[in-house]
Symmetry: C2
Subunit: 344 residues, 2 copies
């Protein structure tokens, strides 16, 4: 296997380049992945020295500008021609890298990916993320790239999510479910009811509607939803998980027995917290653009960055883009003109 080269936006994220370089060093050291760190060369080479990374397959590509976390994506695209995000995508587009990972401004990452790489023909790119369940992790798609979706887009999300599940979760025939408000096919809004019919007619292993309360049970591998609903669900879950841990601590502070219990159970709680922390899952791929792109949480630490770099390498190795193209094109042939039908 030829080692994959991953271009990493080294200046992105809430914690600055330190954690990104640490993650890259560990990905290179532990997994032999080639990393191109994109950012201010002097800062990055100082950090690499700090980690004794001299013999590792890590190179630096200088980029003089950084897109701020709150900067408007369109402004940054227009004004910052030498941003770390832009330069990273140019490496991918020109074949000098096999994947891009960024924990920077996610709107700008998304917009730059679209412009620099282009979309797979006829497809609405979507963000997929892994979520913890009682069993194995599941994939939720879209969690924020598209706020107004048509039924046909939900079908595309299902197809792309299934390919990602094959690569990432090693599922041969991933179970695909449609997020809705009841299990019966008659349940849902207009968009979801039409998407239901498209999913039934697709070659996917479609298991029907999935209710909110089933999401974390782990009986479905891919949960399809529009980006507005998915983003709200994702953030709601993050917020609830954090709040529950807070509430639990408060409840436990009430009695001495509970306090002692809390101390004894602290490691378990810590492990649990990690299990529900999305940062642990190695970022969220943007599927549907012509290149492997992983968007990481702004608050990603070194471990999350390392995981994301490994996942990016794994996706490039599996040639996921070709597999996505095949799945999406077969479907477009299969449904004839459906991609262009009004109302779909």
């Amino acid at each position: 296997m030829c080692p994959m080269k991953v271009a990493v936006d080294a200046m992105g994220g809430d914690h600055g380049p330190g954690v990104v370089v640490e993650g890259a060093v560990n990905a290179a050291r532990e997994h032999g992945i080639e990393v191109i760190l994109v950012g201010q060369a002097d800062v990055l080479s100082a950090l690499l020295n700090q980690y004794n990374a001299g013999l590792l397959p890590i190179s630096i590509k200088h980029a003089s500008q950084v897109v701020g976390m709150d900067e408007s994506p369109s402004d940054s695209l227009r004004r910052k021609k030498d941003s770390t995000i832009k330069v990273a995508f140019e490496l991918l587009a020109s074949g000098q890298a096999d994947a891009v990972v960024s924990a920077g401004n996610s709107g700008a990452t998304l917009a730059t990916a679209m412009v620099t790489l282009g979309r797979i023909h006829g497809v609405r790119p979507a963000i997929a993320t892994l979520i913890p369940t009682l069993k194995e992790p599941a994939i939720m798609i879209d969690v924020g790239a598209n706020v107004d979706c048509k039924p046909i887009h939900l079908l595309q999300f299902g197809l792309m999510g299934a390919v990602f599940a094959q690569v990432r979760l090693q599922k041969t025939a991933p179970r695909v479910g449609l997020l809705s408000i009841g299990e019966e096919d008659s349940k849902g809004n207009q968009q979801v009811k039409k998407a239901y019919d498209l999913l039934v007619a697709s070659p996917l292993n479609f298991v029907g509607n999935v209710e909110g309360r089933e999401v974390f049970k782990g009986d479905v591998d891919v949960i399809v939803c529009d980006g507005f609903v998915g983003n709200i669900c994702l953030k709601l879950s993050e917020g609830l998980a954090e709040s529950m841990i807070e509430m639990m601590k408060k409840e436990m502070a009430v009695s001495l027995a509970a306090k002692t219990g809390y101390l004894l159970a602290k490691t378990a709680l810590h492990r649990f917290k990690k299990r529900v922390d999305y940062a642990e899952y190695g970022g969220a791929p943007l599927l549907g653009v012509s290149g492997v792109v992983i968007i990481c949480h702004g608050r990603s630490g070194a471990k999350a960055m390392k995981n994301a770099i490994c996942v990016a390498s794994e996706m490039a190795q599996a040639d996921i883009i070709s597999r996505l193209k095949v799945a999406l094109e077969e479907q477009q042939d299969g449904v004839g003109g459906a991609l262009c039908s009004p109302g779909l």
Copy 2:
């Protein structure tokens, strides 16, 4: 204060009439609320005897039919003219009761309420529910009555939610937020962006968009969303809370220290579980119909039923229907023809 009469669908819910009667008895005994139990007279009077309820202000109204939990709402409306749900609403419509509480088939309860009571002029009725937060409980509206909403409906939900917050949470100027995917007014789908403008122009104390992760922080009193999104959020939260408790138990089973910790902290965990259990919150009112209606979770126990009966009485006592009418009509006057404008 004149005591309120609450008609209770005594045969509804997953646990049968026992828990309903127990809840009614406690509401009458502890709070002096008059309850009319609607259901099979012989069954109910035997249960009342069991609870020594002879001197309590509880009466029985016979109804011979029960709507099954999975029955189609439209079928039940057409076929079961003497169902407990139907008879309960007739008591309310004819002024023999001041409110209705049901833990039965919620679709049938909703449909029967619409038909029997009618809507407040020009309004889309919505279901509001209390959700736990790190501070005080907040209200989420709509959590399932409307799956395809226009922006104007979200404004109506905000107005109704605010009136409910005044009555239920004793907030003079409840903070109303709009569930979206970012705090900036530019964030959201088409529906939410238009609703944002309507809410800004309304007399509400509108605090702007609320992201999923802010929902449980408790800085907003009323969270407005369409019924599709709200229902998914509600069930997702329920599912996540349950799954987290499951996961935590598993993590704690790993080591002896953690196991001991779990045992010591069990009461705290139990209290915590109750705090995130929606059944504890006294049901969810259906706002926008011409009468006080509380829809309870099918799995409501006696305490949840008692709480719901108390909330129903409190809402009737506060004459919430008149207050809702005033708030909604003022708004209709205020925005002129906005309620009928295309696209709203």
